[in-house]
Symmetry: D2
Subunit: 380 residues, 4 copies
Amino acid sequence: MKRIRLGMVGGGADAFIGGVHRIASRIDGHYDLVAGALSSTPEKAKKSGEALGLDPDRSYGSFEEMAEAEAAREDGIEAVSIVTPNHVHFAAAKPFLDRGIHVICDKPLTATFDDAEAMEKAVHASKALFILTHNYTGYPMIRQAQAMVADGAIGTLRVVQVEYPQDWMTDDVESQGVKQAEWRTDPERSGAGGAIGDIGTHAYNLAAFVTGQVPERLAADLQSFGAGRALDDNAHVMLRYDSGARGMLWCSQVAPGCENGLRLRIFGSAGGLEWAQEDPNYLWYTPHGEPSRRITRNGAGATEAGTSVSRIPPGHPEGYLEAFATLYTEAAEAIRAAQAGEPRETLMGKLPGLTAGLEGMAFIRACVTSAKDDAAWVKI
Amino acid sequence: MKRIRLGMVGGGADAFIGGVHRIASRIDGHYDLVAGALSSTPEKAKKSGEALGLDPDRSYGSFEEMAEAEAAREDGIEAVSIVTPNHVHFAAAKPFLDRGIHVICDKPLTATFDDAEAMEKAVHASKALFILTHNYTGYPMIRQAQAMVADGAIGTLRVVQVEYPQDWMTDDVESQGVKQAEWRTDPERSGAGGAIGDIGTHAYNLAAFVTGQVPERLAADLQSFGAGRALDDNAHVMLRYDSGARGMLWCSQVAPGCENGLRLRIFGSAGGLEWAQEDPNYLWYTPHGEPSRRITRNGAGATEAGTSVSRIPPGHPEGYLEAFATLYTEAAEAIRAAQAGEPRETLMGKLPGLTAGLEGMAFIRACVTSAKDDAAWVKI
Amino acid sequence: MKRIRLGMVGGGADAFIGGVHRIASRIDGHYDLVAGALSSTPEKAKKSGEALGLDPDRSYGSFEEMAEAEAAREDGIEAVSIVTPNHVHFAAAKPFLDRGIHVICDKPLTATFDDAEAMEKAVHASKALFILTHNYTGYPMIRQAQAMVADGAIGTLRVVQVEYPQDWMTDDVESQGVKQAEWRTDPERSGAGGAIGDIGTHAYNLAAFVTGQVPERLAADLQSFGAGRALDDNAHVMLRYDSGARGMLWCSQVAPGCENGLRLRIFGSAGGLEWAQEDPNYLWYTPHGEPSRRITRNGAGATEAGTSVSRIPPGHPEGYLEAFATLYTEAAEAIRAAQAGEPRETLMGKLPGLTAGLEGMAFIRACVTSAKDDAAWVKI
Amino acid sequence: MKRIRLGMVGGGADAFIGGVHRIASRIDGHYDLVAGALSSTPEKAKKSGEALGLDPDRSYGSFEEMAEAEAAREDGIEAVSIVTPNHVHFAAAKPFLDRGIHVICDKPLTATFDDAEAMEKAVHASKALFILTHNYTGYPMIRQAQAMVADGAIGTLRVVQVEYPQDWMTDDVESQGVKQAEWRTDPERSGAGGAIGDIGTHAYNLAAFVTGQVPERLAADLQSFGAGRALDDNAHVMLRYDSGARGMLWCSQVAPGCENGLRLRIFGSAGGLEWAQEDPNYLWYTPHGEPSRRITRNGAGATEAGTSVSRIPPGHPEGYLEAFATLYTEAAEAIRAAQAGEPRETLMGKLPGLTAGLEGMAFIRACVTSAKDDAAWVKI
């Protein structure tokens, strides 16, 4: 099986998520990173390329240049990872989409709704696949949870509790030189959502992925606790579903003691499920009236949906990077199938893509709209 | 130290909370139960009295009769516990309050707002103490949490997350002969609040007790998932505080896998605290930027606020009944002080009373009002 | 139902276990403490009696005096609790046993083997019941575990892992005025076993209670880490059972971070069970090849064996004092049955008594013998 | 940075640990797998090579052939991973060691003591590095625990409790076609130790790594519960250290409910540490007399020793594969340094090698010797 030639936009030195994508692309051995436009500063881009062992000829100063040059090469990249701040997602993805190069893009889809619409058009116009790395959906026990809900394990969905608290922005770290905080608190680069865009979209996506339902309306109370912070760093959101289910989403970047506390609890007429990202190898299942069961990844009670994306035996924990790698692996399979001529519509499987991206954007927009109207219910 | 002569209204066979009050009154040895009107059905009352070893002369058919007869005895009861369904609280408490007999009343204060106002008047008019058993405030680690917040351990309060999920009403148990469910789902006996009255008030009270703050406004989304259920069995509530803090309260009786999942998490500018009722001997404290610490009841890191209401060494768990007993013990101390002539205003200490009761009623009213107005913000 | 008139030997001010016994005797309302010889120092005895509200006439200076006087009263005590240091157990129990007064004695049985034999004779010679408070057997989930093992839930027993670590003697607290440490480290008062006598016997008893098996042989490595400490404060013990099962027991008083970490794990050919005293409301059960289940006290999966000794609903934790109270309640039932003329042999039910006490003594002796012989295997 | 050319012996289809080594070698991008003798069955070897995308010319039928051919190539492998069953370790490693090709070998060192001595000689005679993948030492929090112990965080070591229970051999899976069980229960291929060789050595190594101490003597009780099983599947081992510390090691393959329950608890005069492999991102530290602290990987309280081998932020769990990858990464650094001419003695850093391997062999031998002599103390 030949490896897929991969390029990367963004992800130079100091970046967090670029390194994650690179590891994720390596874990299952489906990619070779061969080209990059790793920074918007050309010098930094070159240097980062060197550090990663890229051929200097393929370490580009800009993504446009890279798209053009790679498309022209016989051995040009087949796919590209976009790991820039949000406001660059569209601009960076477009030249590759236009040239039929498959795109693996970090979330959220874009910083602005205009960009989101433009991205939608570009994806539709392209023959390439577009994968959005809502990486938490790659966790095996999340896959199993989704399958269990679909199979009726909890009966009719009633209540969704999803939360994603962090604490790293408790202090005003954006004015203390923390790069990750700088762009995330800047509406120009991050978009209209602060915490809701950065992590709220993950929580929202996860709930949708597992329940198979997207809320119809929401009421959101957004707040900035950090001094002078322009974007929300804490959000309380109530959710109503068409089906009659109700939900609550909380995300925060100012909750001391919480690291990446993404946690999903769902309750139905016949049972409940609970999963926490910080302890991801376990899924708690309670058939109503029976003891709670601890289902372990690849272990007792585990089903195909999760074991098929698991690498090692139960009790040897897989983590965040493996879940991320699962998206890359599934992307590789989809890309190979596309290259083999299979129709794009049939290839995404469990992979998040444009739809998840647009849902995330709609969520952000609805939150911001609701918050401005004193948390009135807003159609999503 | 002589024991206080105690009477009880309600709490006959089948009742849950009556038995709890009796154990709580015995644990620290401050009371002797000597009289009762244990059921509204006189025969059942007599029978229950017998089972408890009451002198048949002091096992009454009605609380009015009991109040009159006991007040007339030299050795009459000094205090009475009211453990009836909510709609009887006021009627049962009044004759005792009127006769200067101290009242220990289960929560919520009353079923209706009219009753609540009447109770308020009756308490003010009486010389007796009025204690409302918001029992979770008796947990040692809750006492310590309160003291820590007051001492600035978490800095300025920002976010309150409090929840109280249960699962026992997932099915329509009220039509299956479960007495506890029957009156709780009946607006006549329970009042305007279902889950919010029964357990939401506990969550609300706990957050107020620990933070020292009562929210100014709330927005509530109430729902009944049980077929034909007249009152809410699930509630999502957003909270805003005068101080700028924000909060979220969730309570549910239809969350499979949850038993009595009361849990409080609070976050401030300098740290966070977490406590769960089902694991009550531990308080988790995170000074921002430092590792989380597990403070144990009566153990390392425990302070006077909690150790003073703890009975046994760390690692030997105390539970629900001990926390409840702490309220009875503090009530006994207050009653003795009152009997010794100390002014009532100075005696309540940490004990919940009329104020907590009225706050709970205001919370229920605000939730119901908000829910009817599509979860609009309502002043509490 | 009339309360049983109870006396107490030991348990004056400063004592820990005396207070525990008193609370335990009150919780379910089966006893009235009416007499005491609460300290070996007569003045302190009187003072402690006063504090507990004893009739001064029944607050005795010595247990002999008390046994004689109470036996002579029409309304004399029906039962007595022995809560002295170990070396007094026999001497204190005997005069009551001789007079047919039921004895509830703290563990271990005695400090010396001579005393143990004498106790055995005295119990056999008496008509009274003899209950030894191996209190951990009163936990509902331990009762259920015992029943499950008996019912074959884990198949053939293979491996027993039991441990009881504490940390309170990490420093030389016995030379710092800690009374609880003083007598426990003194062979004269404590007997030949330090940690093994104080807590190892609890662990040993718990394993025997749940598995229904007592090991045939053991090999013990005892150690004193505290400077100048005469008795063991840490013990590693390997166990072999007649049935072919193997086990390990660890107890320690010098394990920082451990409070009362009694924990039992047992494994058989068909499943495993796990229980921890510090989280006692849950029993973990793994049928081999299936997910682990969390059985909750009085909740889903709970069976009669445990619910019959549980007081409140699941999710409202019961603790150490309730488990202790269960022994007192079962003792009350046995005492009443004895008073009603039922034969003593049939009354002990789940109550630990002489047999458990002698097993504990044999365990201590075997450990000490083995340790002196370089941890050779010793018949128990 | 050029990738290191890696070969692999063993690890064909169906093998578990070969896949783990391959992922581990990829995660940080330091290796390219370019050659293999993936199975002792030549056809299977070819097929497995194909599946992994190896150049058919470099997919060898035997390790001898591979060593010779690769050593002769300009672009021959620089390092080789040995992932065969134990009894092949030495034979497979030798030809590479003899040719100066660096060896990364799975544990235990060998199946027999003769082989171990031969391996020792071969390593000493070679210029190549020899790394033994005691992979659990690659966990960041284990690195931090080691550093904390060295820095005196727990004072003088007193008690070591280490355990590694599994349940996958509860039934006689070796007769049901489970390949992993077949060779592990066969003394010819596994060596004299069953559970003690397979997982006991891991537990032993982990304790030694963190404490910096190797026990002087042990007493071991080995048992086979599986019907007809020739090697131990459960072991209880008591440990004595020169320093006066005592310890206990338990490993089992027949403990239902346990997956890979490697867990280390160590206690000293000034504090305690606890770590569990199934929840590896946390290290629990209790300075004696203070609350336990939860130190998180890369988070609050984390120090250089662990953060330097961590890839992503706290709250995003790393797992087994990342810990394994850390050994590969450190091996890469050592190999590059060796290639740059640095003396081999200075390069191993935290990497386990021959010493750890010989210690493990000595542990197995001592256990088997002790067990045969009724668990007598044996010098290790």
